[in-house]
Subunit: 186 residues, 2 copies
């Protein structure tokens, strides 16, 4: 008999996609200014760069979401977790219409082991019900129906709310512990 | 104070988009054969037409989802319900990658009053938690977390399960009754 696995909603930008690095790289390329991670601490990404229009321009530029680097450790961690958890990739992509096909292609390239059945593009995550939610934004975690896990990012680093993890290695360790603490499923 | 409205997940194909009519029209156009609704009764759409490959070809053809007619009464009903309910359009669109942009454009044309925040494209609807779900497929309703409402279609008409409604007028009447029966919100 197939047992029901615990479910996890995993965000894309800032969680499995390293948008922070991508913003820094594109800003350096287009403006000739290297913004450090320290300068991004505690600021919403849209306001963290000297030109306040830059981030908005980038996320609306063709190719931005298609070429974002993978967050270090994310592929190995998801491969390791997929046997024990039902993993859903949940991205609030609807705000950027052109991002949908780019995000699909990006997932197909880097996470081909995630089925199309487990991909969700939405606007607002408040109706997503999973046992865990891994996200870098409080607006998603504050109302989530499962256990919230805050993925560390410069923009969220000065607020203390929710359980914070700093890397995919840490996610793996935490979720393995959770699994061991669960009553045996049948 | 803003009150929290009851939430509804509303499917696209077969519910607000009249895919049944669209299949019949495209089949007549491409095969010169007019299949009647009676011939579709009780059969999965993918197997209901004489050429068993036709439906698969259609749903993968550019333009199919962009040009599907709106289900009669759907626009008026959603406009009437949106004040009292938080309406989410939830489509299992992920199986057909090219359908995402077409579905976005179609919603923008016919349902511009639905915010991008309330649109969800997914594979499997089992993690969607709303108070109501209106769908024409048992696979979505059987595991839904809220109250399931089966939207009548030829393909689902020979199975009796869930509360069946036959038109958008009927949906409106039912949901208004539900609203009246709810304890006053504050």
């Amino acid at each position: 008999m197939k047992t029901k696995k615990p479910t996890i909603a995993i965000d894309m930008d800032g969680v499995i996609a390293d948008t922070e690095t991508h913003f820094i790289n594109w800003y350096a390329r287009d403006y000739g200014v290297l913004v450090t991670r320290e300068e991004l601490i505690g600021k919403p990404e849209s306001e963290a760069f000297p030109d306040k229009q830059a981030v908005w321009k980038f996320v609306n530029a063709p190719g931005f979401f298609r070429t974002v680097p993978v967050m270090p450790g994310a592929i190995a961690a998801l491969k390791a977790l997929i046997d024990d958890f039902e993993i859903y990739i949940v991205s609030a992509a609807m705000e950027f219409p052109q991002s949908l096909s780019e995000k699909q292609a990006w997932l197909g390239e880097h996470f081909p082991f995630i089925s199309w059945k487990n991909i969700i593009f939405c606007g607002d995550k408040s109706v997503i019900a999973t046992d865990y939610m891994i996200d870098d934004h409080f607006k998603n975690l504050d109302f989530c129906k499962g256990k919230p896990i805050l993925f560390h990012a410069a923009h969220n680093s000065t607020t203390e709310r929710h359980f914070r993890i700093h890397s995919w290695e840490e996610v793996q360790t935490f979720l393995k512990q959770e699994l061991e603490a669960m009553p045996a499923l049948s």
